[in-house]
Symmetry: C2
Subunit: 341 residues, 2 copies
């Protein structure tokens, strides 16, 4: 069991530039999240705390803060509460994800599911989610509750679709895009929405923020799917090829499948469906030979470009440069992956 | 997969008196719940529908309607929405419960968990819960969202406590009361709260409604725990003794443990902890010999009496007689259990 003093995991070094600027907000967020622990029943407090400790880069809160950025030293305190709401929703989905994946370790710690069993972990995820909505209900109007609960439903719908299609090779590229738009881009989008709304931006501005968040979220997920085959195990702290092993169809596999000769394609489909043992080394080598990386990377770049161009209508308003920087950071992470590949 | 025309399960015959009076509201609720299906993504709609089909007696919605009762034919439409909110929260917890219990059948249908797998079932429960909160956010103020999200957190906290104590004989009677107050009485309480608030009752009146709901919920759970040993398998449509088999300490077991001679007590504790195979027939016979039934039934009656006396301050306001009748119905179900025991 971790003590209250345990700091959150440090942000990834690549994001450090943007994050160092957000240090005061992130500290406030961490204090705010830890203050919430008092609300949980004593019996479950330490487990909720372990989830907060295992919280990672806090990208979604960063989007809330950056979209709601203003250059004055006075920061709207509502942004911290909204950031906590999206982070708690995200943590709840992580707790439930780890149950489904039977994951033992997340970010170097035993998962909640491993610690208290899958049954209690389902319920702990529910508690975190319920409390996120309770915080959302502390805003003066129902707007935050409404946006966050709808987003959460869409995130879960995306994950259900993905789960029901595991091991299926009948999934189309359109299905894939729809799944990542729901399961990942939705919470990025709502984070930008909340930042813009709480900073009092006008509607057109808020819509642009939503488009930015959505494109960034899609880019982020495709990058993540690419890193599952081309990443650095040690640096990422996770095993490569888990998507193939669990029958999850992602963009690198779509591209490889299209480029393989028919007989090989059938074999790979057998591996995805679980009929055949996955041959990860072979598939990774083939991905290299068949130029899968640049094709998938192009999709990431296209989404990043779309995210950036969403902000044009802002005419350089205060948050613009920070958000553009977030997109550039993801772009350079992609570049680093490319060097390795 | 059930069709949209499938009616909800009929209410239990014992509740039929109160329910027949609520038929128009219950019909409205059913239409309202089915209309929500359009909001779910097409891929998960049929699964959400199956949950609504498997919805049982709808006691919590009944409490919303009855607490908000007025004798005029005009019914506040907000009550239907609030009833849908509490029912969806309840359905979400059922979906998650069935995963944990690895239940195959609920109310004569295959459980969602059995139908789509536990992984997707976790997410479907999340979707139902998220949508409940989204409906709650459609009220003019954040009050419903706030009350329901806090209740949901408490319900899950109660269930976590119960789960973490499965197979433990160190659980005290105080733990038991706290668990049932959270996991069951909380949603009864909030149902009465919402009915009273939405009917525009003054604060003192609402507090009395909450006390009624809380005591009724505790009575209901103890009754349910008693029925697990003294019920009629055929009529209830479920196997007896599942609490002993799953190591769940409930009031009948507390009473039996206290009355058994020391050597027998150790053996029973071994059965609860899973060290020894549960001897259900023996334990049920001993419960009969040692007068466990009347002792536990007395607790139910005490809670029912407390529920009824909570309403005294209402001075016979419109909902009073209906709520008293609900308490009486549970009292007569207890009587029926007694005849059998």
């Amino acid at each position: 069991m971790s003590s209250a003093a345990t700091p959150a995991a440090p942000p990834s070094s690549a994001l450090a530039g943007v994050f160092s600027r957000l240090a005061p907000q992130m500290d406030e967020l961490d204090l705010f999240l830890r203050a919430q622990l008092a609300i949980f029943e004593p019996e479950i407090r330490s487990h909720a705390e372990a989830c907060i400790d295992a919280s990672g880069k806090r990208i979604r809160p960063a989007l809330v803060f950056l979209t709601g950025w203003n250059d004055s030293p006075a920061r709207p305190p509502e942004l911290v509460r909204a950031a906590a709401v999206v982070e708690l929703v995200h943590l709840a989905t992580l707790v439930h994800d780890d149950i489904m994946d039977s994951a033992e370790v997340r970010r170097g710690r035993r998962t909640v599911s491993r610690e208290i069993g899958p049954t209690a972990a389902v319920l702990l995820g529910d508690c975190l989610f319920a409390h996120a909505l309770n915080l959302a209900a502390q805003f003066p109007t129902t707007e935050v509750c409404s946006a966050v609960s709808e987003s959460a439903r869409r995130v879960c719908a995306g994950e259900i679709m993905q789960t029901l299609r595991r091991g299926s090779t009948e999934i189309t590229r359109e299905d894939y895009w729809r799944i990542i738009e729901l399961k990942t881009a939705e919470l990025f989008r709502v984070s930008c929405y909340l930042g813009a709304r709480l900073a009092g931006m006008p509607p057109g501005y808020t819509e642009a923020a939503c488009r930015f968040g959505r494109h960034l979220g899609i880019a982020y997920q495709i990058y993540d799917d690419l890193a599952d085959y081309f990443g650095d195990e040690e640096r990422m702290g996770k095993t490569l090829g888990t998507d193939l092993a669990s029958g999850k169809m992602t963009l690198p596999l779509f591209v490889l499948l299209e480029r393989l000769p028919p007989s090989e394609r059938d074999a790979l489909m057998g591996e995805i469906s679980g009929r055949l043992a996955p041959r990860l080394d072979l598939r990774m080598r083939q991905m290299g030979e068949m130029d899968v990386f640049p094709t998938v990377a192009e999709s990431v770049e296209r989404e990043l470009a779309a995210a950036k161009s969403s902000l044009r209508s802002w005419n350089g308003a205060a948050p613009t440069r920070h958000l553009l920087e977030v997109a550039d950071v993801l772009g350079s992470q992609l570049g680093a992956l490319c060097e390795k590949s």
